[in-house]
């Protein structure tokens, strides 16, 4: 029963991961009109589905080197993982409500770290030891991802505009729209490959804890399929709030910039994992979009970027605190009842956030309208912007 709840919760996290990150791949294509919103999310969903099957190399190492869970087993481990997942989901939903593209992986790791600290104390978490630990695996990549992506995105944008300078604009835009569709598809594929696997890894961990699987077993196909479907459905739902922020809020995007941003994201997401320095999908995509604004010497709304950076900083600790609280509740009540109570809290929280979101809905109809001058996403005047920059 507890195992079942953990698996359902893990798939729910995968689902939030999907709609939280649709923006990474599709925000620029929707913003430039290369793809209609509905078509974009459908395409992205299908490619996430395929991507999830492509590789399991990330799944094998999820949470390894971050939390020390070797000494706990069975029910205890399941409760820790469960509380961590709840922390991750609630933070993902909250940032979605605010339209902020925060890293889903950080939410997941934050939740797990929090529940591990609550259960095992500070020593349950590997902070920094050798090539492992929070510092090397999370903090360092988090600082590097947006910087590298912004730099490459800026260079790509500069080159693209330089090369096509003087070319008939209509013709160029037509060409670049096709390029955008291709590059955005690649990001979707890369996203499925990277992010669906994190949930697979968590479910695998739970199955091992329960004794269904052995540590050295291959990833069961049903786990892969379930995660692939969950992330694809989430993607198809579309996180319109975040799509709007990334597509319209940060910089005004034209097709060539969209192409540059997506190519940069796809290249970094796919290659960085290969070199053993996996960078966050969300932070890479955001950095790349920011970079295209710099590369074109266009206006960048630094205040929006600032809000995102704050959300990035808070993701790990906040998801951690929620994870820790959930673990404490489940532990105090104990057993199945404790898990059920936390599960009820999760559902209530999710419902509450959903109802709040209905007051100010963002969907296919208004995804390309950035609310100028509306707090809290108010656009600063140009004078203020110079100071902020």
């Amino acid at each position: 029963m507890v195992l079942l709840i953990v698996i359902v919760t893990a798939l729910a996290f995968d689902f939030t991961n999907g709609f939280h990150d649709t923006a990474n791949a599709m925000a620029t294509s929707i913003a430039t009109g290369a793809l209609k919103p509905r078509v974009a999310v459908a395409l992205s969903g299908v490619l996430n589905l395929i991507g999830a099957f492509l590789s399991v190399s990330v799944a094998a190492t999820v949470a390894k080197g971050i939390v020390q869970l070797n000494d706990v087993g069975g029910q205890d481990l399941l409760v820790i993982v469960f509380a961590g997942l709840v922390g991750g989901i609630l933070w993902n939903l909250l940032t979605w409500l605010l339209g902020l593209p925060s890293s889903s992986s950080h939410a997941l790791f934050g939740g797990l770290i929090g529940s591990t600290i609550a259960a095992l104390g500070w020593n349950g978490v590997i902070w920094a030891s050798g090539s492992e630990g929070v510092l090397i695996k999370i903090v360092l990549p988090a600082i590097l991802a947006p910087v590298i992506a912004a730099m490459v995105g800026a260079i790509a944008t500069f080159l693209v505009y330089r090369i096509t300078h003087g070319v008939d604009e209509d013709k160029a835009n037509e060409g670049f729209r096709w390029g955008q569709i291709g590059s955005a598809s690649l990001v979707s594929l890369a996203h499925g490959t990277n992010d669906a696997q994190k949930t697979m890894g968590i479910i695998f961990l739970a199955l091992v804890a329960y004794g269904t699987l052995d540590k050295d077993d291959h990833m069961p196909l049903w786990v892969m399929a379930a995660c692939a479907v969950a992330i694809a459905l989430g993607t198809y739902l579309g996180g319109w709030r975040i799509i709007r922020t990334l597509g319209k809020g940060l910089v005004e995007i034209e097709s060539p910039q969209g192409l540059s941003a997506e190519s940069t994201s796809a290249a970094i997401i796919l290659t960085s994992a290969h070199f053993g320095l996996p960078l966050s999908t969300t932070q890479t995509a955001t950095g790349a979009i920011l970079g295209t604004g710099i590369g074109k010497r266009a206006e960048v709304r630094w205040r929006v970027m600032g809000r995102m950076a704050v959300a990035w900083l808070l993701t790990l600790p906040m998801a951690g605190i929620v994870g820790a609280i959930c673990w404490a509740i489940a532990h105090l009540i104990g057993g199945l009842a404790g898990v059920l109570v936390v599960f009820a809290i999760l559902i209530a929280g999710a419902l509450g956030i959903y109802l709040r979101s209905r007051r100010d809905p963002v969907g296919t109809h208004n995804v390309n309208e950035w609310p100028e001058g509306v707090p809290p996403a108010a656009t600063p005047s140009s004078v203020e912007q110079n100071h902020a920059g």
Binding site: L54, L144, A156, K171, A172, G175, T264, L270
Partner: protein, 93 residues
């Protein structure tokens, strides 16, 4: 500290790969767009002029990109393909 330095050296590889693929591919694509736009022009008297070298250049660029992308996907999926279908790409065991 030692491993931080190891990580920083892999950082250079990441940056290099990101530059080659992340900025290189869009640049090649930009050339494709440029030549494609020049491949067919209509002059003042309404005559259509075809520029075959430009068209060929555009096509070559597109083919290069498609090959890079397919290679990249197969490279990522190599373990899965080897496990499911027994086909060993890129010579790994």
């Amino acid at each position: 500290m030692h491993t931080v330095i190891t990580n920083l050296s892999s950082l250079w590889e990441v940056v290099l790969a990101a530059l080659v693929f992340g900025a290189g591919v869009p640049a090649v694509f930009a050339f494709a767009v440029r030549w494609w736009a020049q491949a067919e022009t209509v002059d003042a008297e309404g005559r259509v002029r075809r520029n075959y070298p430009a068209l060929a250049g555009a096509l070559i660029c597109v083919v290069v990109i498609v090959m890079v992308v397919i290679t990249g996907i197969l490279f990522t999926a190599k373990a899965f393909i080897a496990h499911q279908f027994g086909i060993h790409l890129f010579g790994q065991a």
